[in-house]
């Protein structure tokens, strides 16, 4: 007998939809102002432009979405207790680099080899994030600032170590780590029969991470403590939560998941780390976590949306003579309008539920005794 409040549920869905509609309008206006073809742009984005491009786009969307999803979950873990892990970027870069080095240096039976790579990535990501956690717990340093600094430090560190590791390899100027042997790779699978493109096998890991995130947050004591700390630190402390330990744990967990972010690409496509490895995924993850409102399913939808936009925008330049970065503007507008919409909905929702509760009570009990003399 769940007494759901459908207005609130509807509002929860309406906010992101409205934000998307709003961003479509803003984007269209920008296109018009810039003298770009509005209709062709949207048609190209919706269909993939060429016949038969859509299945390929969809597989690419899933692949890119896998990466985005992991990044957004890493961010969301922090968000659930009001921790801003801006440092996913640095965590995954350091982690994927370490994973590539270790994975390329050993040869093990397949499942073990992959497992080793995954563990290395998670440990490195978690350890890098732990620095920010320790600084916050021990010295009161805001994790926002420390993770921004750690991102830049990680960038320099990776660049330096990469040169050390790759020294004497080849004379090419794009130096790379040794390639991971076959046993350490995660094979792709056919997602759509109409597309020859394979989907990353790591997709299943991402799904597992999503399930784990949902289970941990919603079902376990640890998750309850984490959410309680996010909702009200003072109430959490009074209920017996050790907030300092939770900060550290959440940070490490977030960093461990962040460590996975680069792996779909590493184990499914490149098998090696070089300087052209995608950067900035951590910030995309923040945007997606916000749009998906930290819910495991919402993040998945938002990740797919962002990934689709990124994928489908590729042929825009050729087909519509529109710079594909128009979708970046669209994504930015979605994020800003969605957070504003959520804030307005939240404020409205609080008032609405108070009214609803009062109304339901007075309906069942004609005279309330709430009014003291």
């Amino acid at each position: 007998m769940r007494n759901r409040d459908w207005t609130r549920v509807a509002l929860g869905f309406a906010a992101p939809l409205l934000a998307i509609v709003f961003s479509v309008i803003v984007t269209s206006l920008i296109l018009v102002a810039a003298g770009d073809p509005v209709g062709t742009t949207w048609r190209t984005l919706a269909t993939g432009g060429l016949s038969g491009a859509l299945p390929r786009n969809l597989v690419n969307t899933v692949n890119l979405g896998t990466t985005y999803y992991l990044s957004a979950v890493a961010v969301a873990i922090g968000f659930r207790m009001n921790l801003f892990n801006i440092g996913v970027d640095g965590q995954y870069r350091l982690a994927v680099f370490a994973a590539a080095v270790v994975g390329g240096a050993v040869t093990l039976p397949r499942p073990l080899h992959v497992l080793l790579i995954v563990v290395v990535a998670m440990v490195v990501g978690g350890a890098w994030a732990a620095i920010a956690g320790l600084l916050k717990v021990g010295r009161g340093v805001s994790e926002v600032i420390s993770t921004i600094m750690l991102n830049a430090i990680a960038g320099g560190l990776v660049a330096y170590l990469l040169r050390r590791v790759a020294s004497g390899q080849q004379a090419s100027n794009n130096i790379a780590t040794p390639s991971i042997p076959e046993s350490g790779r995660v094979p792709g699978f056919t997602l759509l029969p109409s597309s020859p493109l394979l989907a990353y096998g790591f997709l299943f890991v991402a799904i597992l991470v999503g399930l784990g995130y949902w289970y941990l947050l919603g079902r376990t004591r640890f998750g309850f403590d984490l959410r309680a700390t996010g909702l009200s630190p003072s109430a959490a402390v009074a209920s017996g939560v050790n907030v300092r330990r939770m900060v550290l744990a959440a940070m490490v967990l977030s960093g461990a998941v962040a460590g996975l972010v680069g792996l779909p690409e590493l184990l499914g496509k490149t098998y090696t780390y070089d300087l052209s490895f995608p950067a900035g995924l951590g910030f995309t993850g923040i945007a997606i976590a916000l749009v998906g409102r930290n819910s495991p399913v919402g993040i998945a939808l938002a990740a797919l949306l962002f990934a689709y936009l990124d994928t489908a925008s590729n042929p825009l330049q050729i087909l519509a003579d529109v710079a594909p970065e128009i979708v970046k503007i669209m994504q930015g507008v979605i994020v800003l309008s969605v957070v504003i919409a959520y804030e307005l909905v939240r404020r409205y929702g609080v008032v609405h539920e108070q009214r609803r509760v009062a109304a339901q009570l007075s309906a069942t009990r004609p005279q309330t005794e709430e009014v003291p003399a």
Binding site: G156, F283, L290, V333, L336, V339
Partner: protein, 425 residues
């Protein structure tokens, strides 16, 4: 340390208040610190033969690299003094570089300056609308603005620069140079002095020469803005009100201050300053807009501001330091930075001695001594330091300052907190 009560008789000696509270540097301390730093540098230069650590060329490069950092940091200072955390500085700076490129190549560098500043200010306005009016979390809004800016300029470049001579998807056509100032005669005289490589004298000559030779008008503007910021924020009623919004908006509200208005002004100015930093990158540090030109300088600016304890003077030191380490990389980087290790060793040794003499707690003394020895070991065991590490300097320095002396840092008390009119007290 109670400075609470003056003499009971309290004769109004109003015009000569006792300044120089802890953490604030007077002119005398500034000069002293500068001379000491210079002394150290020239000493190490003689010792190691790393000529570039104090050359006027390095200094000129330092200034060029420090200005954009300082402008971003100054933007952060305005915003955070009013209580709004601004990590969207990077994005506003990107807007600035693009605006400079867009207007600069068509209508000249001055138009580029105006347009870049305007674009940055618009970025700031967006941040203000989100954080002040809609109460969106400051960090969230900042991250969104950074993403938005990166995408927007790429899209706009496709429209504005493709097909123009020298322009393309990732860069604007050439922008003409802004004028720069050289004090005639003095510069050459100082050059000959610098070439003598005398202890201290040559270094002093190098510094002065760096300060009087082909200084861009934007650099002069930047210096004026830093001084002006100090004056406006700490010496005017407007500044007092603005700062009170960052310290205790509820109290400010109770005294009739329109908190929203001051926050809006501060954040828009913040964006304009970050935009100016972007203009500097596009027009002075290079001569065209380029994709990715900011290279995270918005964040370094933020770091410089924190390093400088949310004050203009500290910010100046911070950005100067970060610009200097950046500049060294360009000029015999490995060797120069290696020499700097020795500077660090000397400073730490001095701190250790000071602590022993003053009988400070032993733990800190031991730590500084151990670090000094380790650094000395590193210095002796290696010949140069990889450039990657030099690039990290601003970030490591900021983290160290934050974690080692956080009790001496004083950010505005209500910085980053949500505030809604009429909800306090």
């Amino acid at each position: 340390m109670s400075t609470s009560v003056t003499a009971a008789a309290g004769a109004p000696t109003a015009s000569s208040p006792v300044r120089g509270r802890r953490g604030r540097l007077g002119p005398r301390e500034w000069v002293l610190a500068g001379v000491t730093a210079l002394f150290l540098l020239s000493f190490v230069r003689l010792l190691t033969g790393a000529q570039d650590i104090g050359s006027s060329g390095t200094l000129a490069a330092s200034i060029a690299l420090a200005v954009p950092i300082a402008m971003a940091g100054l933007g952060g200072l305005w915003s955070e003094r009013s209580g709004v955390v601004n990590i969207g500085l990077e994005g506003m700076m990107i807007f600035g570089t693009w605006g400079a490129g867009f207007a600069g190549y068509q209508w000249g560098p001055w138009a580029g300056l105006a347009c870049g500043v305007l674009f940055g200010a618009l970025g700031g306005l967006l941040h203000a609308v989100a954080t002040v009016t809609f109460n969106v979390d400051h960090i969230v809004s900042g991250v969104a603005i950074n993403l938005l800016a990166a995408g927007t300029v790429k899209y706009l470049s496709g429209l504005a620069f493709v097909g123009k001579p020298g322009g393309g998807k990732t860069q604007s056509p050439q922008i003409d140079d802004l004028p720069s100032v050289t004090v005639p005669g003095v510069s050459d005289a100082l050059l000959s002095l610098e070439r003598q490589r005398w202890f201290f004298v040559s270094d002093l000559a190098a510094v002065v020469r760096g300060l009087v030779t082909s200084v861009s008008v934007l650099t002069l503007l930047a210096v004026a803005l830093i001084v002006g910021t100090y004056f406006v924020l700490w010496r005017t009623a407007f500044g007092l009100r603005l700062r009170s919004c960052g310290e205790n908006p509820v109290a400010a509200e109770s005294l009739g201050v329109d908190v929203y208005r001051y926050k809006y002004i501060a954040v828009v100015v913040s964006g304009a300053l970050a935009g100016l930093g972007g203009v500097f990158l596009a027009e002075v540090a290079s001569s065209a807009y380029r994709d990715g030109q900011t290279g995270g300088r918005g964040f370094i600016g933020l770091a410089a501001m924190i390093f400088g304890n949310w004050r203009p003077g500290g910010l100046l030191i911070g950005s100067g330091l970060f610009g200097y380490t950046d500049a060294l990389q360009l000029r015999q980087g490995g060797q120069s930075v290696h020499a700097l290790l020795l500077v660090l060793v000397l400073i730490l040794a001095a701190i250790t001695v000071w602590r022993v003499v003053r009988r400070r707690p032993l733990v800190g003394t031991v730590i500084s001594a151990v670090v000094a020895v380790l650094l000395l070991g590193w210095y002796l065991a290696s010949d140069e330091i990889p450039g990657d590490f030099t690039g990290m300097t601003p970030y490591v320095a900021t983290l160290l300052v934050l974690s080692l002396s956080s009790q001496r840092l004083r950010m505005p008390a209500a910085d980053g907190l949500r505030y809604r009119r009429g909800e306090g007290g």
